[in-house]
């Protein structure tokens, strides 16, 4: 039982609460459904559809319009003429069908939790950075830092992606139909990355945890990354996931290369002793 009573911060009067077990349990009790709904989220109807013409408006206005339309119950929003502008579709913490007809610039669809997004063009650097949940599908290529620090959801690029894809990733899945650049999975901590094409140098450098599957050639592995054996479970997961990703590419799953961390980090997976016992 962790207590902060008697701790210097408590003596200083900064707070008085007592934490029990893992801190997260206090905030995410599965019994309390309100924990899974944002206070300002909207009830939307996916059959209620509308469009935003982004040709003459800036990202702030586009994002405000998305929020305004969600508040009116629109569940499917089409963005036309995005013109590769930056930061479109960020901060959507709601269920929503967002269809982008064209390409996005940098930081598109960042910090989202829940929407289902389809982009017919290309995306620039840091697409879907910090995504918590949802599904984002890009039909063409993506720039560097694709899916940086995502925590959940499925992020799919049917083309190729730039360097440092999945950097600092903490969960979720990234699927790339084409090739990926240098330092893919750099400092990755959780989740899975699937690259069907070739990968550049220093794959999974400083990998903490998580798994990377590669269908093509790997130029070089980074520090701490090692090859692991493919299991039947991996193959069945890949088959299922690629079907969900709508990637029509013939893949010999058994021949894919699986990369994991070769280093155990001190106290990284710090489950409480009782939970550890349960896991065993």
């Amino acid at each position: 039982m962790a207590s902060i009573k008697g701790h210097k911060s408590s003596e200083m009067g900064l707070h008085e609460e007592v934490l029990t077990g893992r801190t997260q349990q206090v905030f995410f009790n599965p019994e309390e459904s309100e924990n899974f709904v944002y206070h300002d989220s909207y009830e939307v109807d996916f059959n209620k559809r509308t469009e935003i013409d982004a040709s003459n408006i800036e990202c702030l206005e586009i994002n405000s319009k998305i929020k305004e339309l969600m508040s009116q119950g629109y569940g499917t929003i089409v963005i036309k003429n995005p013109g590769s502008k930056h930061s479109i579709g960020v901060g959507i913490l709601n269920k929503l069908n967002l269809i982008v007809e064209g390409s996005l610039g940098y930081f598109g669809i960042g910090s989202v939790d829940g929407p289902n997004v389809r982009i017919s063009g290309r995306v620039g650097w840091s697409c879907a950075e910090n995504m918590m949940a949802g599904k984002v599908v890009i039909e063409k290529n993506a720039g560097s830092c694709f899916g940086a620090a995502i925590r959940g959801g499925d992020l799919i690029c049917k083309g190729s992606v730039g360097a440092r894809s999945g950097i600092d990733m903490k969960g979720g899945t990234i699927i790339v139909g084409g090739d990926a650049g240098a330092f893919t999975g750099f400092m990755m901590q959780r989740g899975r990355i699937v690259i069907l094409g070739d990968v550049g140098p220093n794959l999974a450098d400083s990998l903490y945890d998580g798994t990377i599957f590669v269908g093509g050639k790997i130029k070089s592995l980074g520090a701490d990354a090692v090859e692991a054996e493919m299991t039947d479970l991996d193959v069945s997961w890949l088959k299922r996931k690629l079907k969900v990703a709508e990637i029509d590419k013939k893949v010999d799953f058994e021949k894919m290369t699986k990369i994991v961390s070769g280093k155990k980090l001190w106290n990284y997976d710090n489950l409480e002793p009782a939970e550890r016992k349960g896991a065993i």
Partner: protein, 313 residues
């Protein structure tokens, strides 16, 4: 953070001045301090086009030392004298601003000798000396500089440009990009990033007699490439060598009389988006710049780490 852009038309001329202005203006947010253009036009038959300056733009916000503009006329007179002494013939001279000039000259001698004589005049810097290159740079955004130097209808095959956010040196024309690869006619460079072994390389190149005019790390790329070309390397080979010898994070563009090239460092830490078709190649730090000249849906991609590409006009 700086913005770089380039465009090359295959086998035809276009309004590259207007195109580059639009591309660079859409990158203004990446660097509002100064803007520079290296445009490749039809040239003046076999004559050289000399772009030079005898002072700095001292408007608000610059770090340049203020001088009495009267001195500019005297320096210009000295430059004309040096051109005569070198055996060059002056065909036309245009005063663009109080401190910046465009000359058309004919000359058969060694460009290095001519350049050294001209730059012997106090505070005088050759921006470009070539048969098709015209290098223009000044304080302000792309529209301001294009209007000031009348670039909106400049016809040519290709061009590169730069919007600068000053980090390594002052806000002045001297530290603005592009850089001419002195003393090679028609070679220019723009760069986005930082070079971390600048001084080691600069000292080595200075020992070989290469000239540096600013303290801006980007100038090193132009001088490095000039040194390699001087020793017989072709452009692509010299660019590949730069990835090995220059430390840091960078993407740069280089242009010659009939080529445009790009190089990206081995970490791929600086952005570059590329569009390639049968008619043209356009590339920039951000796709919005390409969209400013090609508003329809196009397929673009990011070049990978350590990539060097060269296109022919």
């Amino acid at each position: 953070m700086c913005g770089i852009a380039g465009i090359i038309h295959r086998g035809k001329s276009n309004n590259v001045g207007g195109e580059m202005k639009n591309m660079l203006q859409s990158l203004k947010h990446r660097g509002p301090d100064s803007t520079g253009y290296a445009l490749y036009g039809q040239g003046e038959s076999n004559n050289y086009i000399l772009r030079y300056k005898v002072g700095e733009n001292v408007k608000e916000g610059t770090t340049a030392v203020k001088e009495d503009p009267i001195i500019y006329a005297s320096r210009r007179k000295q430059v004309n004298q040096k051109i005569n002494e070198a055996g060059a013939t002056l065909h036309s001279e245009d005063k663009i601003t109080d401190y910046s000039f465009r000359y058309v000259i004919s000359y058969d001698g060694d460009l290095l000798d001519l350049a050294k004589k001209i730059e012997a005049v106090e505070e005088t810097e050759i921006l470009s000396l070539g048969k098709s290159l015209e290098l223009i740079k000044d304080i302000g955004d792309a529209s301001v500089v294009a209007d000031q130097y009348n670039l909106n209808k400049f016809s040519g095959t290709h061009g590169i440009g730069h919007t600068r956010m000053a980090t390594e040196s002052g806000v002045d024309i001297r530290s603005a990009h592009p850089y001419w690869a002195y003393p090679f006619s028609d070679v220019s460079v723009v760069h986005n990033g930082q070079l971390t072994n600048y001084w080691n390389n600069r000292r080595a190149l200075e020992a070989k007699g290469m000239r540096f005019l600013s303290s801006c790390d980007s100038e090193l790329i132009a001088v490095y490439l000039a040194d390699k070309i001087r020793n017989g390397m072709d452009l692509e080979e010299a660019m590949k060598g730069s990835l090995e010898h220059l430390d840091g994070v960078f993407t740069y563009l280089v242009a010659t009389k009939d080529k445009l090239g790009m190089a990206k460092d081995t970490m791929a830490a600086k952005p570059m988006v590329l569009y390639e078709s049968d008619d043209l190649v356009a590339l920039a730090s951000e796709e919005v710049a390409i969209r400013s000249v090609m508003p329809t849906e196009i397929d673009t991609y990011d070049p990978y780490e350590g990539e060097v590409k060269v296109w022919q006009a």
